[in-house]
């Protein structure tokens, strides 16, 4: 099926959603997504940040769709024409969506452990306004203790349901869900049942905001002062492939590896996540790929290495012989 997104055409198999097709083209056309998660079934459709404009439905029926559609839930048709960043309407509508997501968000980024790797921060920076128009008291909750490993800050939650789907699909026997409705909805563990499944820690990784954070990492370091390295160990419960966040010789945090869409590559178990906080427990493979626009790569000068590799590659392609290799 041929689909055109922002003027770029791509062939995709039947059943692909617009979001997936856009991601196949690349980050220059891919809409942001807060609730959709490739590895979780039935995720998506809640946050509305991935809305796009469909200017032609298909070759058979090229009428445009009347409203912006959620690209994570809309499958492509042959000959569909989609506008994302090229449509001013979508830019404006997404700004409205971001404003709604931020209405009750406490904006406590200086205190929040997610700051620096928070998707809502990125979204707000790229698509939001620098000022709020909201004048009322923001929604507040009683602090619920959901165990000694995971910290729940309900005020920061944007109700993306990712953690609920994780609890449902990755762990067996769900003790975690969303209660109440609408404005009053809140994540709960069904009356303070502790999330003690072996894979429960993955809710931290799937959370796009700072609502679920690692309690063992709480207030330890700001993420941009730590150095992420890819590491592995032999684990009988999970793949054992993780990202270890170092501060000097100390392991401050262990997370799953994430791809360029900020999605977990493989889910990891709680033993790897919480119980191996020594550098000697891990076989370190090398520095994790962090995009140079990320605050985490600040002061790490890793992009200089990338630049060097790129320059050397281009020089080689041009047939340039380095000075020290010349006869």
């Amino acid at each position: 099926m041929k689909v055109t997104i922002d003027g770029i055409e791509i062939d995709v198999p039947k059943g692909t959603t617009i979001l997936q097709a856009a991601r196949m083209i690349g980050p220059e056309v891919a809409p942001p997504a807060m609730c959709y998660y490739t590895k979780l079934k039935t995720s998506g459709g809640y946050c509305r940040t991935c809305i796009v404009k469909v200017t032609a439905g298909s070759t058979a029926n090229p009428t445009p769709m009347p409203k912006p559609v959620a690209s994570c839930r809309t499958e492509v048709m042959d000959g569909m024409v989609v506008q994302n960043f090229t449509s001013p309407e979508i830019i404006e509508a997404r700004k409205g969506v971001v404003e709604f997501l931020l209405i009750n968000h406490p904006l406590d980024c200086p205190v929040c452990d997610q700051a620096g790797e928070c998707k809502l921060q990125d979204l707000g920076f790229e698509n939001g306004s620098s000022k709020t128009r909201y004048e009322f008291k923001r929604r507040e909750y009683e602090m619920i203790d959901i165990g000694d490993k995971i910290k729940l800050h309900m005020t920061r939650c944007i109700l993306c349901y990712r953690c609920v789907k994780t609890a449902e699909q990755i762990t067996d026997g769900r003790v975690h869900g969303v209660m109440h409705r609408g404005d009053a909805s809140e994540i709960s563990t069904y009356i303070e049942k502790i999330v003690d499944n072996d894979f429960s820690g993955n809710v931290i990784d799937v959370c796009p905001v700072g609502a679920l954070t690692d309690k063992t990492f709480r207030f330890k370091q700001r993420v941009w002062f730590t150095k992420p390295v890819d590491a592995h160990r032999n684990c009988e419960k999970c793949c054992g492939k993780t990202r270890v966040w170092l501060k000097g010789e100390e392991v401050v945090r262990v997370t799953a590896r994430k791809d360029q869409w900020d999605e977990v590559e493989e889910f990891i178990c709680n033993t790897c996540r919480y119980d191996h906080k020594k550098k000697s427990d891990w076989v370190i493979e090398g520095p994790s790929p962090i995009h140079r626009s990320s605050v985490i790569s600040q002061n790490h000068y890793q992009h200089l290495n990338e630049l060097k590799t790129r320059v050397l590659k281009e020089q080689k392609a041009l047939g340039f012989i380095p000075f020290d290799k010349r006869p």
Binding site: T86, P110, F219, R222, W224
Partner: protein, 200 residues
């Protein structure tokens, strides 16, 4: 070979009668010396006298407390991130029950250090601070004998409750208005578009 025009030809010319008396030359020199008596004295007798500093002079930092006396800094790390000299380091801690009057938010800086030998007093930490906690003042960093003494901890940086440091000059309305000007790069408002993308 002549490289510049500044070279002087040395000669063994014999002094004339007037020159060998030396007296006119001495008088000429004394005249210059004497003329300085009537000029304004440029020396400032520090520390009795101090130079008048500009309102935006950037000197020794202060970590401010809020109106109730609680520390404003939440150890968000943005100052250390903004610091081009990498002079600032900090360690975070969680506020315990009963410490609400000491620290304004649930997280605070347990250790906050600025290496004054590294610091270039650019003021970027002040600009980065989202909590109006760090300010550069018109005070001067003291001289010390040991290098370690230039690493200023919270004991030297946090203002004393009974001895508040006035930073109102740096918090003027003009500053607040200036921070709102969207045309200036660091004030930039990203209105709905990505930085690297052109929208038609």
């Amino acid at each position: 070979m002549q490289l510049t025009n500044r070279s002087k030809v040395v000669s063994n010319k014999v002094q004339s009668g007037m020159e060998s008396m030396y007296l006119p030359a001495i008088l000429k020199g004394m005249m210059i010396t004497a003329s300085h008596i009537f000029k304004r004295r440029p020396t400032i007798r520090y520390p009795e006298q101090t130079r008048k500093l500009s309102a935006v002079y950037r000197g020794l930092h202060v970590l401010k407390r809020d109106e109730k006396g609680a520390e404003r800094c939440t150890a968000c790390g943005l100052c250390a991130l903004a610091c081009p000299a990498e002079a600032i380091t900090m360690e975070n801690a969680e506020r315990q029950k009963g410490e609400e009057s000491l620290y304004r938010e649930e997280k605070y800086a347990k250790v906050y250090e600025i290496n004054m030998l590294r610091c270039i007093f650019c003021g970027l930490c002040e600009e980065a601070c989202p909590k109006e906690a760090i300010f550069l003042t018109d005070r001067i960093v003291d001289t010390e004998y040991e290098r370690e003494d230039f690493i200023y901890g919270k004991d030297k940086l946090v203002e004393k409750i009974d001895k508040r440091i006035d930073v109102s000059k740096r918090q003027t309305l003009e500053v607040a208005e200036f921070k709102k000007i969207p045309g200036i790069k660091h004030n930039a408002v990203w209105e709905g578009n990505r930085i690297d993308r052109k929208i038609n």
